[in-house]
Assembly symmetry: D2
């Protein structure tokens, strides 16, 4: 019997609506590289969703590629990107940022978040150092919403981070691989309009929210930047899909009738059931998350039992034979799977 | 009324068999990044197809990414890649190779092909120059089969190129974005086993032969190279798909029941009908091609008439108000479209 | 007996005045990295020489490094640098430009020069190509004054090149490794003020004009560019000398009492004597040069005789057992050496 | 009155012996780029000094350039370099390593040193992580001898680090910008033969030990690596001096009659006097160093007094209005300067 997987939020294909649209449009003839009506329509829908008719939207295939492309675009050759040490670009992207020639300037994160106070302190110290012009210059701040640990920036934190960026002439880029579950989380007070207002670029992640693949990069204020060559940069970084409409079609489906949000709501709802089940069983968490990633701390006995029927990620070994593990939910997590899991947790 | 498109070989979605398999597998749960049974099966099918059980197969999303990844992998920091000046990497990949730090060493192509004699001459001259160690060192030869102009290397040419590579300690990489139509062309005398025997790496292009996207890189003799970190390099270059099984599934479909070859045969058959139609109308060609790209030379009157109902690419403006244009066929080109086109050509 | 060398313009140490100043200042204590009074003074002298008090001057160690640093600074990630195919960056810098991630877009040079008409044609064709945004974008024009073949742009050509740059929003960078011999050549009609007025950056080469090493980069209009991080970029590219004053001291000596020009005048005078000697002997030239590089075409017999007592560079093998060779002069070329050579030429 | 400088070990010119040799050889004619008899002789002297006739020696201009070139040479595109967080490459080289495309994998240093236990732990954890192939692969270990904080690895530590490198298939590179003062320190038990035996490459720093500039990279076992293109890489990285003999001449002088060691001994002796003076005044140190860098902790009153007559570097602000500062000595530090300083310290 195959185990029920809670390993990641990309272990199934795509939402059936997307598959339908891919199928019904399959034999249409369109030009390549995103010059087609589906892509135009998808951009239009996104601009409506974020209420920014003036914004520019680009579609790329995957997250690593998206991060590298946007960061490379924003930085001059001497500049680096500031990230929490737990930032995805610093850990799990195989050096894609450094491969573009830029250093990642890390600041210890707190529960996956870059605190505005820590950011300001870092910058104060940096410019107080008389040798600062022998060092990589801070150029951009990278944060993830929701974070790699499922946590969320409050609106107040985001406002403060923006203020620091303004004070130090830094741009702000928000990795939105998991933006959907962040926006709809019960613990969230940040709106998509806030994201637009406070960031220089962000993306609406598709891969982890119901698409086969695809990330929609948004520049809310394109007037502020020269985007003339951004498409060429996407091509250079290997992110320009020949059959570009596949991205358009998927985001058409996602931003029609709020599928994007509904997928995220479903993922969070299922996650909250898991959260409650562990809480009821008095199992602690590495971190408190109100999004689709949950990090309970299991004893090795508990792990032994749960791992018989379910698979999940070992996140971090802990003292005393304990371990933090990660359970992920998604648009595709079934009630049946949740029921089986919560039942098993109850029996621990 | 929409024009019938002959612009590219990636203007439709994918072969229905692929869509079927994507649909039927959609809700399966698998691990990410290509660690799944579909991907394993696809690799197995490819190894069988090429009759190289010992070979290593990797899947990437697109061609530019694939070229950059393989070339970066093969070169040391001082080395460049030799290419015909018409090579795709030199023209249409937005500097993706240079972005990895490597120069493209161009040799004028002849009808899209790098002639072994020209290659040898280039290398003789290079090493005869007393300042050669102030220049980028040749490290790898890049050729496309079929070429960007639809032409084909003969087996004899490939053998000679390999010989030059051996004499000068160069690796040989074959861009197979259009490998299918090359292999099944009536003018071809090169087998897939020859490709395996003569190259150090090549790829079986999916995007232009019926897949939604995807390229299968093959290292026929993995023992010769340390491939331990190649997967990490794919990730670094943004080519590692989170839902990696999507690549596996597509190549499963393509290499089951020879769909890969059948798609290519269909594309070539349709192209040969176009070829004959232009020949019958005494319309000359920029180049004689026996694959899915045809390059007739039109007068501006002929272009005016044809472009009313059909779209195709302007390839090259020529003197006397003439122009070379490109007609592309694919697995998806219908008999109806061909009939309409050939009829119109007849009426010119 | 050692042969008399005419191979290069960097085969001796430095002008004695420089050595004197290095010696007399040797035990002074200064801060590192060019923050010292010698460096400040040298900058002041250069600003006076070019009559641009508002300009910014930076010192780097060598030419390859200087080219890579300035070009990297000017280009965004999608842009390439346009150069004559004979440009030093394209031939003899081991891929230093590509190592910064940028393609060199070559246009065939004519006698070492990039013709404004060829440049304009290239750009017209580039932007007429509908696929231009899949190609590396032109961002900067690189020319050498004097050129790698000893030739010179006329003022008219430079004005036209500037016009093209303005029309296409390109920056213009002049490699001045041999700027001195260009400025003082009898065939020259370009002033240093013209260079300032027409370029966005250029450098005054020291290595080939009497210094031990060192190149002075000038930005005539620093207001046009954000140079805040340029020093950091020099450091990143390995061009920031710890004992930075060594550069300051050398350029102090060179721009005091016009040593820079006097060195160049001496080099040209000696070269003109060689030129006349070959002309008198009815020996033709590959190219007519009025600067310190001369390219006579020798028969193998002539070469055999001359190479017994003199060393020079084989430049290019030619048909009929002939060869173009290069004779270089410099500030250090003695009258005695010239006499011996011209005598020997007379005897050919 | 100018303050007496103790800021750095590169605030004077060069040892008079070097200046003499530069002067006496100034008008010799030699080929460029290090193909000359001085350079050959210098290499021979170094091979004798290290007692490794089979080793390969290369000369580069400066340290940042040397580090970037060697590290780029050793790493494949997926690999990073492990360094103590205080390593020069991680802090003060403006991102030169990242500019070559490689991540610096930092481990917290202890008093400037990378402890072998910490290194092993890092590697154990790395390979225990199931997602390790999504991360930058460790390829090379970088350490500095003496360290950026003046401290020294014991032979035992070096042996252990080598063992870890062997166990994990890593290369070991020793930054020897301050190798001289390390070797001759009273606290040192590591010989140059140990350095050769335990490292894959290291350099003998010239800039900080009496040369105008220059670093001599040594590959003790050139058979283990393909160095055929290393010279080309030096050129690409901007480290190949046109008048290459300037490097040869300087190292000829340094390795004739043990000037290299004598310079270092002088620097250390002067530093030890400073050390004792602070100790006698009961002034504590940030770190105990037995080389030419001393890091006393001053109160702001003490700093106020000392900084009237002497300049030195502010190293690190500390609580309670204290600050760690750096005093540097070199081959050029006079007895007079030391006397004035020690007297002033006594009076504090």
């Amino acid at each position: 019997m195959q185990k029920i997987k809670f390993e990641t939020d990309y272990q199934e294909g795509c939402h059936p609506k997307i598959l339908e649209l891919l199928s019904s449009s399959n034999l249409e003839q369109t030009s390549g590289y995103g010059v087609d009506s589906h892509t135009e329509h998808a951009k239009e829908l996104i601009r409506k969703f974020i209420m920014r008719p003036e914004s520019e939207v680009f579609f790329l295939v995957g997250g690593t590629q998206t991060n590298a492309t946007v960061i490379k675009y924003f930085l001059n050759p001497c500049e680096g990107v500031i990230s929490a040490s737990t930032g995805h670009i610093n850990v799990h992207e195989s050096g894609a940022i450094e491969a573009t020639g830029h250093k990642i300037l890390t600041i210890p994160g707190r529960e996956g978040l870059l605190y505005p106070e820590d950011l300001r302190k870092y910058l104060e110290d940096f410019y107080a150092d008389p040798t600062f012009d022998h060092m990589v210059q801070p150029g951009l701040v990278y944060i993830s919403f929701s974070s790699e640990l499922g946590t969320l920036y409050t609106l107040n934190m985001l406002e403060k981070i923006r203020k620091v960026c303004d004070d130090y002439n830094l741009r702000l880029f928000i990795d939105g691989a998991r933006l959907g579950v962040g926006l709809v989380s019960e613990a969230n007070d940040v709106s998509i309009q806030d994201i637009c207002r406070l960031s220089d670029a962000f993306y609406l992640g598709g891969t982890k929210n119901g698409a086969l693949f695809g990330e929609a990069v948004v520049f809310p204020d394109p007037e502020k930047f020269n985007l003339r060559t951004f498409r060429t940069l996407i091509k250079q970084q290997g992110g320009l899909l020949a059959k570009g409409r596949l991205l358009g079609i998927q985001f058409e489906a996602l931003f029609d009738e709020h599928l994007y949000l509904r997928n995220a709501i479903h993922a969070n709802n299922q996650a909250m059931k898991i959260k409650k089940a562990f809480e009821s069983a008095n199992i602690p968490f590495l971190i408190e998350s109100f999004t689709n990633q949950q990090f309970p701390i299991l004893t090795s006995e508990q792990d032994k039992i749960l791992s018989e029927k379910f698979s999940y990620e070992l996140w971090q070994p802990l003292p005393d034979n304990k371990m933090a593990v990660r359970f992920c939910t998604s648009w595709a997590t079934t009630d049946e799977a949740i029921e089986k899991l919560t039942q098993e947790i109850k029996n621990l």
